[in-house]
Point group: C2
Chain length 363, copies 2
């Protein structure tokens, strides 16, 4: 099948670019002896998780139990659930997953720890725990310092759970050009301090898991870090590019759309809006919903659910109803979540049709 045979809107993935992205990070991790546990929330496709494992990933990362269930298809040795698992329904499902692969959970509360330990005891499982640490984002995580030590002791005191180490997400470092070196140095000091405090008190810190997409290739600069869990790197997106973490040539995923109306002067409407791209804004905060590759100076200015409004005043060209446009989405993870299936392309050929099996796994 040719790309031109696909109906729109369609999310297409350039497999050459994707494979280059996968190899680059796999090589980087190997070179710096970092364990690679990719976050599968970006692609949500077991076949792609399998590719990551074949290239040397030591395990997988997920956000939800439902994603872990789907990712079992990739037969990972190990899954990290990088989100607190709360409540009996999810914990019971997690214990079923834990029968089939090793499970580690990132936690920051004694409530979640107690529930996890109880479920693990009840089902006779052993679950690893990473302590979630807040290194500056202010989202989840304990403050580096005495709270970490206290929590490690609490884990040690609970049956059927094992303290494995620390995890953090430096999501506050957005752009590698803007004072990021100093910010990353500060993170490194916090991490190092927390590890030392734990070791001084007799804890073995086997895993120090961290990093983010913008800081990815600086991960080796963080003292004691031994595991990375990037997600977006497989495809990259407009925000990754705008934040300086990749180039346009590294962006593998594009949404192909059709011009459906041109009646309003200086504007075209395409057959995809917030249901196709998501309403995530540009990294700058600007109401700009994707980069139109056919006319980079056009402005994807507004969206309704099914309508994308593209201001073509800067485009330097006109468009006709029925013509196709190719848009680099702002945020590929949420875009993937909106598509039932996506297409792997090489040249002008459609080589793969992938169902996005882990999309919509909210629980």
């Amino acid at each position: 099948m040719l790309i031109s045979d696909l109906d729109t809107p369609a999310l297409v993935i350039d497999m050459d670019v994707m494979e280059r992205n996968l190899t680059r990070v796999s090589d980087y991790a190997r070179e710096h002896q970092l364990r690679l546990r990719p976050h599968t929330k970006t692609h949500k496709i077991p076949a792609l998780a399998r590719k990551q494992l074949h290239l040397g990933a030591a395990g997988l990362t997920v956000a939800k139990v439902g994603e872990a269930e789907v990712m079992l298809d990739a037969e990972p040795d190990d899954i990290l659930v990088a989100f607190p698992v709360i409540g009996p329904a999810k914990l019971q499902r997690l214990m079923t997953v834990a029968e089939l692969t090793r499970i580690t959970v990132a936690l920051d509360s004694k409530e979640a720890l107690a529930e996890l330990s109880e479920a693990a005891s009840q089902f006779g499982r052993s679950i690893g725990v990473l302590i979630e640490m807040d290194v500056g984002l202010g989202r989840v995580g304990l403050e580096p310092g005495p709270a970490i030590l206290e929590f490690a002791r609490a884990i040690e005191a609970c049956p059927c759970v094992t303290f494995e180490g620390l995890t953090f997400y430096p999501g506050h470092i957005r752009h590698m050009d803007h004072g990021a070196t100093a910010a990353l140095q500060a993170v490194s000091e916090l991490v190092n301090g927390a590890v030392q405090l734990l070791e001084t008190n007799g804890f073995e810190v086997r895993v120090v898991s961290g990093g983010s997409t913008p800081t990815l290739f600086h991960s080796h600069e963080v003292t004691r870090l031994n595991e990375i869990r990037p997600g977006t790197y497989i495809f990259n997106d407009r925000n990754t590019k705008d934040l300086g973490a990749c180039s346009l040539e590294d962006c593998a995923a594009t949404i192909m759309a059709t011009v459906v109306s041109t009646t309003v002067r200086d504007q075209i409407i395409i057959d995809g809006g917030s249901k196709t791209f998501s309403s995530d804004r540009a990294a700058s905060g600007e109401a700009s919903f994707g980069l139109v590759l056919d006319a980079p100076d056009a402005h994807f200015a507004k969206m309704n659910e099914e309508h994308g409004f593209i201001d073509i005043r800067g485009a330097g060209r006109s468009f006709k109803v029925g013509e196709r446009v190719h848009v680099l989405p702002n945020h590929v993870c949420v875009a993937m979540n909106l598509h039932e299936q996506v297409y792997g392309i090489r040249g002008n050929q459609v080589e793969q049709v992938w169902r996005v099996d882990a999309r919509g796994k909210l629980q």
Copy 2:
């Protein structure tokens, strides 16, 4: 099953409120002799479309062919595809749907008209056409005036398509308090002028289809309007309420979430973010992602895919990990699209589990 037995995040629909909303609009349409053709993009569930038809809806509205395919389950006499259907793949599928129910399409371009007529001829179908008219939103549609007449003549000249009338969406009228009466009066004049121009030139304008959620109960004030196709009214949402088009008591759909982290001062994190609520902002444009019903003065200030950040400084109360919160989503249509299934509740009982069959139908 009790609501408390549901895992989170879960989208729950208060069936008493929903039924009251359905009856109210059904009664309004009957009272004013307006044909009701509800837009199913809000609920995306054939069982709810069936309820609308039982309450007197004359047909259904959809945005995409994929939604029309799903909505055949509700056995409508008539489906309006309120979006230009472009390209052979979609047109072929539309012709299959047209074998089972009467199809009307809203169009604004000769390119789309030619394609539709050709497909209808090829498959031996007769398809109705409404001319899409721009009454001020600046999205799609022809300008009221000579362009409308010219397009009606073009339809008449094409085989297997029939001119049915006009359609418009006054989406530029957002808040019924702010100069909306004058704006609606202007719309009414445009519509009336267009109908008269067509009639003077010998066209019978059987359908004049229009309206929006904020203007819903003012539809009878638009001269010559004889059909409404509201969507959001079945559930309503925070934006409908904020725009003054319903009260809080009319909001039927709530997202139930769990507090998963409280480590950051004055903030709680819930287990749903942009993958659960969508990243659609409040109607005001403010970065506020839903109304926390348990603490209306808390501020749902930020989102990542799986994390909802709620600033609880104004909440006047604290929250514990594991506690549930109930959030009125900003925009229920896009929220529905993110959930595999939703729950119909009455009192504290779960009465229905509905699969959201038309979610993700992008084509």
